[in-house]
Every structure is written in C-alpha cells, then in structure tokens.
C-alpha cells in the first residue's frame, strides 16, 4: 500500500509538471462539456426537469472521464520496444506501478478541472447533492475506476503473448462507450439494450456513479447496482492479477 501511494504521488507530480498541457486540458474539459450539454439541451428542451437532471449527469460523467484517463498505449509502446524484460527485474509488479501512476495522474487532471465543473454546476443552478450522496459518488466512482483500469490493463497485457492486438482493445473501447452511459444514460437506451447493459461491467464505470448522484438510481435498484459494481471490481482486479501472473511466466519478447 505504501509503495502504491508513493507511485501515486509520483504520477501526480509528473502530470503537474506540464503546464501547457494542464491549461489545454482545462479548455478540453470545457469543449467536451459544451458538446454534450448542447446535444442534451436540444433533445430535452421540452422537459425542464429531465434536462436539469441530464445536465448534472453530464457534469458527473465529465468528472469520471478525467478519473478514467488510462493511457495504456504507453505500456504497449514500452512492450514494443522490448523494455518489458526490465519490468520483470523491478521489485514492484508492473500492474501495481502502472495503475498507481495512472491514478496519480488522474488525480491531477481531476483537481485541475474540478473548479470548472463546480462553476458549471453553480451556473446552471443544479441542486446541491446531500453529503452522503456525494460520498457515495466518490466511492462508486473509484470502484468504477478499478473495473475500467483493471480490464483495460488486462487487455494490454495480452501483448505479452502476441504482438498485435489493437482491434480487441478498440472493440472494448467501443463497447465501453456504448454501454457505460458515458454519453447516453442507460435509461434512455432501447429497452432490450438496457436489460443487458445494466449487468455489464461497463455500467459501473460511468452510469452507476453518475446516475446515483443525479437521482436516476435510488432505493433497491441502487443497492443492486452497487453490489453488482463491487462484484465486477473484484472480478476485474482478479483477472488482472491472474493475467500478470501467467504473462510474466510466459513472455514473448520482441526480437527474442
């Protein structure tokens, strides 16, 4: 845990070192918000109540997307250059180091853009959620990060067996964009899609935290969603651990 923390701090510092990138990132946050806010305003113009909820939902998903910034392509390019041999020598396992580093960097991105999101929340006069709900949002958001980070890094680790595997990662990204609620909350999807999307791990990444914060999930339904999310988080972390254990034993090195 201590080493994890040390790598988190290091990641945070690394991300904060690039000033220009920090400012660019803030502009980027605004553009993405404007895009989604524009679409949903056009769609829900006739229903002020639903529109207000959706605005909150959009802000929540933007915050979560800062958290779920997972540059696994950096790991892939390391593997390509054959640096993975060095990874095995190091005393801390690669998944722990990589995930701690990603988490630290996400924390910086989150802090950097949070003032913008708070300002938007105030500007649109969105209702202030109670403290308990906010806490639940943070916890559920972190669980979602565990799911996404573990699964995505597991996919990257497939590179330990084969050399080219980008299409699968891309397919995973598309499934995530469709079923996670990052753009369309699950309750606006066609019925048949909803009925299975709620059980997929992707739902825990954006939909569950964002919907609970904005009142789209409550009561028994919320409890069920949170239990499922916790299950997926454990499952994903297990997959990652198993992948790393198997992969570090059977390593196909580029040029080896």
């Amino acid at each position: 845990m201590r080493t994890f923390y040390a790598f988190v701090i290091q990641g945070f510092r690394q991300e904060s070192a690039y000033k220009v990138e920090g400012w660019m990132g803030m502009i980027s946050s605004v553009i993405w918000f404007v895009l989604y806010a524009g679409i949903w305003t056009a769609l829900l113009r006739g229903n002020p109540e639903a529109l207000q909820r959706q605005m909150g939902y959009v802000v929540a998903t933007r915050i979560l997307s800062e958290l779920n910034f997972l540059p696994t392509w950096e790991v892939t390019s390391k593997f390509r250059q054959g640096d993975v041999g060095l990874e095995l020598v190091k005393p801390v396992a690669l998944p722990i180091r990589v995930l701690a580093d990603f988490f630290g960097r996400s924390c910086f991105r989150l802090l950097r853009s949070l003032p913008i999101y708070v300002a938007i929340w105030v500007f649109f006069r969105l209702p202030v959620p109670p403290a308990g709900l906010l806490l639940l949002f943070v916890g559920s958001g972190l669980l979602g990060w565990v799911i996404m980070a573990s699964l995505q890094l597991s996919l990257t680790l497939i590179a330990l067996w084969t050399v080219q595997f980008e299409e699968v990662e891309q397919l995973f990204g598309i499934a995530n964009s469709l079923f996670s609620g990052a753009f369309i909350p699950l309750y606006y999807l066609p019925g048949w899609v909803q009925s299975f999307a709620r059980y997929l791990p992707f739902a825990g990444v954006f939909f569950v935290p964002a919907a609970l914060l904005t009142g789209g999930l409550a009561g028994a339904e919320l409890v069920r969603a949170l239990v499922l999310q916790a299950f997926w988080a454990l499952f994903s972390a297990g997959v990652l651990a198993a992948m790393w254990a198997a992969g570090s034993r059977k390593l196909v090195m580029q040029g080896g």
């Binding site: 990138e21 660019m24 980027s28 524009g38 056009a42 769609l43 980008e166 891309q170 964009s177 606006y188």
Partner: protein
C-alpha cells in the same frame, strides 16, 4: 521557385505512396478499425434518434450526412497534413533543422514526409455514409451539387489542414503539438458532428468565424439538402471553398511567423 517546390513535393509524396502500398495488410487493419469506430458512433446516434426522433429537427440520415462530410474532409486532411500531428517530435529531436537546410520550402518538406493516400479509408467510409444518407434523406444529386461536394471536401480539408498547421507552428514556442491536437482540435472536430444550431449563439459564431469548423459540414449540408433558405445568411452554405483557402493562407502566414522563433533544441 513555386514550381520547383511543388515538383519536389510531388516527387516526395509519390515515393511515400509507393512505400505505403507495400503494406496492404496494414491498410485493411486500418479500415477495420475505422469501421469499428464510426460504426460505434453510428449506433449511439441510432439509439438516440430512436428515443428522441431528431436532434434540433435533424433526423438520423441528415446527421449521418454531417458525419459523411466531416469524414470526407478529415480524409483530405489526413492525406496531406497528418504528418504535422507528430511535428513536436521533429522540433524536440532537432530533425526539423534538416528541413530548414534543404533547398525547398520547409513546410512542404514536412508535409512530404507522409503518403498522400493515408486518408483512403476515410474516403471509402465517407462514400458508404453518403450513399446511406442520400438514399434515406431522398437527396437528388445534381451535377452542380456533385461539383460543390468535391470543392467542399477540399475546402473542409484545408480548414482542418490549417488547424493542423497552426497547432504544429505552436511547437516553435512550446515544443508541444500532441497536447494541442488532442485537447483542442480533436474535441472541436467532434462538436461539428452534430448540427451547430444546437449550441449557444456565441459558440455558433466561434465555429463560424473563429475556428470555422461549421463550414466543414454544417453549412454545406444545407446545399445538399436544398434548405439554404433556412440559414440567416444563405451565402454561408456556398462559402466552404473560400473559407478553406483563407484558413490555409492564414495558417501558413502564422507558420512563417513561427519559424522565426525556432531555435532548435539545445541552443
């Protein structure tokens, strides 16, 4: 001088195209990945229009038309300007020095380092999207529209290319281009995947005169759909080629100004 520059450039990109054609499998893989990405976007659009029928009065096929125009212009941009995406590396590693020392326009030298058929996948895909949109929306393609479509693709490509040139020129001061591209250009391109009329008036003005991405697809789509009368200024619908020329000229002037600040690395 101009003729010399362009003949050098043509010779460079011809060699690049020949080298790209050696990798057929790579092309197929690119096409698959593009089908996946755009296919995913199409599915979310389809689900939204199933639930809400239209976005600000634009039906599914009309928004697909906006996509098709945007992908086509992006294909033109990718074919001729995408080498600028990684320009940061050339500045940081000092390899841009080479372009400055050669008896050729430095920008054309950078642009000549890529194949002119890199956007082939985008072209194939945009044609598929056009066929779907034209059929579903009942668009009759007159010769005039077809000519304007080609000019629009070139104009849109120049608008996006201008943006790439400006972003690349920013590297002369900050040695950063990836961040500019992924934080600003990429999300701004996504903005125009939807009818620009859904945004706040101020943003509509920005997308018209500041970062004129609305000319890539939103305005010219009015010509294809025979609804230029719905625009406050119908002339905007016909302006894409002109705006493209202005954008690339302005960007080139900015680039020239920026090269004066280039000092190489380690100096």
């Amino acid at each position: 001088m101009l003729r010399h520059n362009f003949s050098c450039y043509l010779r460079m990109i011809r060699a690049q195209a020949r080298s790209q054609m050696q990798y057929r499998l790579n092309f197929a893989a690119n096409l698959v990945s593009m089908v996946l990405t755009y296919g995913g976007q199409f599915v979310s659009l389809y689900w939204i229009t199933q639930r809400f029928q239209a976005i600000d009065g634009w039906r599914l096929e009309e928004i697909v038309l906006l996509y098709a125009l945007a992908i086509l212009a992006w294909g033109v941009c990718v074919s001729f300007f995408f080498s600028l995406h990684g320009f940061e590396d050339q500045v940081r590693n000092g390899t841009f020095d080479r372009a400055l020392l050669r008896p050729m326009n430095p920008l054309l030298h950078v642009l000549g380092s890529q194949s002119p058929i890199s956007g082939l996948g985008q072209f194939v895909f945009s044609i598929l999207a056009f066929v779907f949109a034209f059929r579903a929306a009942g668009v009759s393609l007159t010769p005039l529209k077809l000519i304007y479509l080609v000019l629009t693709a070139m104009g849109g490509g120049m608008i996006l290319g201008g943006a790439m040139v400006i972003v690349a020129a920013a590297a002369f001061w900050t040695t950063r281009t990836y961040a500019f591209y992924w934080s600003i250009i990429y999300p701004s391109r996504q903005l125009v995947n939807y009818p620009v009329s859904i945004y706040n008036r101020a943003l509509q003005i920005v997308l018209t005169v500041g970062v004129p991405f609305a000319f890539i697809n939103y305005y010219p789509a009015h010509v294809l759909l025979d609804r230029t009368n719905r625009l406050a200024y119908p002339v905007l619908a016909w302006s894409t080629p002109l705006v493209g020329l202005l954008a690339i000229t302005g960007a080139y002037m900015f680039w020239n100004w920026g090269t004066r600040y280039y000092t190489g690395t380690g100096s």
